[in-house]
């Protein structure tokens, strides 16, 4: 799909450009994130098949944590084409190899509102379902912190779809209401193995996104060995595959109160058939619901909170449960803009608290997926110039994860890191 998809996208771009006599507007935005991290976690991070919950392993590490570009062409009739490319370059220490590819490619069409304030928006292509309330900066970067929460690190790692989204919005301004209402429904394919990485490395926190068609490694555990229940599983998971040709869906509702914030709720179900396996990649029946709010208490204080809870199921060809997990994660974050104290809008501080868990409901030997943990993030950002932001962030995770025993590590582990970053937005 990768090369074909990009080629189709480019062909369509040229086609629309030729067909459409109206002027097109090209825009290019993006982010470069240079980072220094002092990590106290594990000798291998989850990105290189270890148990560390951060992007990098122990020590003082340098990395380009993200180089992303968000390119779009917009025509006057409401149609636009978007391509997002991300690169994650090899960091020092046990950093994974450099990778670059598309993360999203889609067409978007937005109608004008009707006289009664109804508007329809459609997205077709490869995109993130509308779930994260943190990753709304260019190229899906998180806005207030360097590391995304465990919920949105997982969304960035395993939730991506090839599909069509229809979103109906009722604008309040045409109805003398102070709020807008939106309902969206997405039908999708190519997200069948999702749930595998969450099961096998647990909840993690970083700014890494999985690139389209990218395979991701996970820690070793005994059930992968010959003769064991998961011997047929490939050593890398390929989350954006279609295994069983069944269409999944995501629905979401949002209530947005003007100048205050929003409340949203949604449900995702990939409707995968859990006992089908192709080339070592299983279909995992993954379902979850999510709740979110963003609320501005006053000009200085904004709350963002999300809750996600669901299950995932993977079975043998005999339809016996091999992995059957329930998982939940929640965070609450407060961002303070130092407008009054320092007299400008250049400083922001964020505190985020998280609680996460995975409950393993199956009896598969050598594959314990249970997990329980809490995380704390303290972040401060200073807008140095118009385009450069300097950030300092402290991340703390305390987790209980029995699977660490398989690789002779402490089941109860406290991981900490301090990060300094210079982020350039364009």
């Amino acid at each position: 799909m990768n090369k074909i998809g990009v080629n189709i996208f480019l062909a369509l771009l040229v086609f629309f450009q030729l067909q459409n006599s109206q002027a097109a507007e090209f825009t290019a935005h993006g982010i470069v994130d240079l980072r220094v991290s002092q990590v106290s976690s594990s000798d291998k991070s989850y990105l290189t098949g270890g148990q560390g919950k951060f992007a990098l392993a122990d020590g003082l590490q340098f990395s380009i944590a993200q180089a992303g570009a968000d390119l779009s062409v917009t025509w006057d009739n409401g149609l636009s084409a978007h391509g997002v490319v991300n690169a994650f370059l090899k960091g020092t220490g046990d950093g994974e190899s450099s990778v670059a590819n598309i993360t999203e490619v889609y067409f978007k069409y937005r109608t004008l509102p009707s006289a009664s304030g109804y508007r329809l928006q459609t997205r077709v292509g490869i995109f993130y379902p509308d779930i994260s309330l943190e990753n709304n900066a260019y190229a899906w970067a998180s806005k207030d912190t360097l590391n995304s929460s465990t919920i949105n690190t997982w969304i960035g790692e395993e939730i991506r779809v090839l599909g069509s989204e229809f979103k109906l919005t009722r604008l309040g301004r045409m109805n003398d209401d102070a709020f807008d209402l939106s309902l969206s429904a997405t039908a999708f394919v190519n997200n069948d193995p999702t749930g595998a990485l969450l099961a096998w490395h647990g909840w993690t926190t970083s700014s890494r996104q999985t690139l389209w068609t990218e395979k991701r490694i996970f820690p070793w555990f005994p059930a992968l060995e010959d003769g064991q229940a998961l011997a047929g599983q490939a050593r890398k998971s390929d989350p954006f595959l279609e295994i069983d040709d069944r269409i999944g869906y995501h629905v979401r509702g949002e209530w947005l109160l003007h100048r205050k914030g929003e409340l949203s709720a949604g449900y995702y179900d990939n409707r995968a058939t859990p006992y089908i396996v192709i080339d070592g990649q299983y279909a995992w029946r993954t379902r979850f619901f999510h709740l979110g709010t963003r609320w501005k208490f006053n000009r200085n204080v904004t709350l963002v909170a999300q809750y996600l809870s669901g299950d995932t199921l993977m079975q043998s060809h005999l339809k016996e449960d091999v992995v059957n997990n329930d998982y939940t994660s929640a965070f609450i974050s407060l961002t303070y803009k130092w407008q009054q104290l320092i007299g400008n809008k250049k400083h922001r501080s964020t505190i985020r608290l998280e609680d996460f868990s995975i409950r393993d409901n199956d009896n598969t030997w050598g594959d314990n997926n249970n997990e329980d943990g809490q995380a704390l993030t303290l972040s401060h950002s200073y807008r140095f110039t118009k385009h450069w932001l300097l950030l300092a962030e402290f991340n703390y995770i305390d987790s209980h994860r029995p699977a660490r025993y398989y690789t002779h590590q402490a089941v109860d582990l406290v991981e900490k890191q301090l990060q300094l970053a210079a982020r350039y937005f364009f």
């Binding site: 507007e25 935005h29 982010i31 968000d70 917009t74 006057d76 409401g78 636009s80 978007k108 937005r110 004008l112 509102p113 009707s114 006289a115 304030g117 508007r119 709304n136 900066a137 260019y138 190229a139 899906w140 806005k143 604008l171 301004r173 045409m174 807008d180 947005l256 003007h258 100048r259 205050k260 914030g261 929003e262 963003r294 501005k296 809008k345 937005f425």
Partner: protein, 220 residues
């Protein structure tokens, strides 16, 4: 307060009928709230009722977009005048009116001007931006060259070229009255002063401001 007092004479000269050398008939209109406070930025216009033939207004009509808001919030224009939309931002806007009689939409690039000339009927036109949903502005099209907005002292004045009967109207999109306006019919023969006192407080004017002031958001 001191500053206000110092500025007072100048401001009142601009919008009052103090100029005794004026040969035309001068009409001064005051608009006050229910509690007697002067109200600025309300539209006042005088429509001829005796068939007086009046010259067309030569005022330049500008609907600005600045800091992702309609600036000013309210623009007034005479029918069949050219209305200039001026985008002072460094991003594109997608201006529209969704009402059936006055439906229009166009994209306007950073720093450019887009002119519309199709407004041949008196009407109030609510406008939005399809990229920035919080943007909200009004264009009031009136059938007279005598239109203006009240100053911060709640006053406005007109030099009328023709005497006779006029409909004096005060309008604001947030006025809690029938058709968002108050109307007096007056025979104007000499210098006249009219005062409108609103029966209800104005509803709150929507703040044209995004919920999120972070500049590098990927949204639409």
């Amino acid at each position: 307060m001191l500053l206000t007092l110092l500025l007072l004479p100048n401001i009142s000269n601009a919008n009052t009928c103090n100029n005794k050398t004026e040969i035309n008939t001068c009409v001064q209109v005051f608009v006050k709230s229910k509690t007697g406070q002067e109200l600025g930025d309300l539209v006042v216009y005088l429509e001829p009722l005796d068939g007086q033939v009046l010259d067309k207004s030569h005022k330049e009509v500008v609907v600005g977009q600045r800091d992702k808001s309609f600036t000013p919030y309210i623009t007034v224009s005479q029918t069949n005048s050219k209305v200039n939309f001026v985008n002072q931002d460094n991003i594109t806007h997608h201006i529209y009116s969704a009402e059936s009689e006055n439906k229009f939409s166009f994209k306007i690039r950073a720093g450019t001007t887009h002119s519309l000339t199709q407004f041949d009927q008196a009407n109030e036109i609510a406008m939005g931006c399809n990229i920035h949903d919080w943007m909200s502005g009004y264009l009031l099209v009136v059938n007279t060259p005598y239109f203006d907005k009240t100053d911060e002292l709640g006053q406005v004045s007109f030099n009328l070229a023709k005497k006779g009967k006029y409909k004096v109207v005060v309008w604001h999109p947030q006025m809690q009255a029938e058709n968002n306006r108050m109307i007096m019919e007056q025979d104007i023969t000499k210098h006249n002063t009219f005062t409108f006192t609103l029966k209800n407080e104005l509803e709150s004017i929507p703040t044209q401001e995004s919920d999120d002031d972070f500049e590098f958001l990927s949204d639409y």
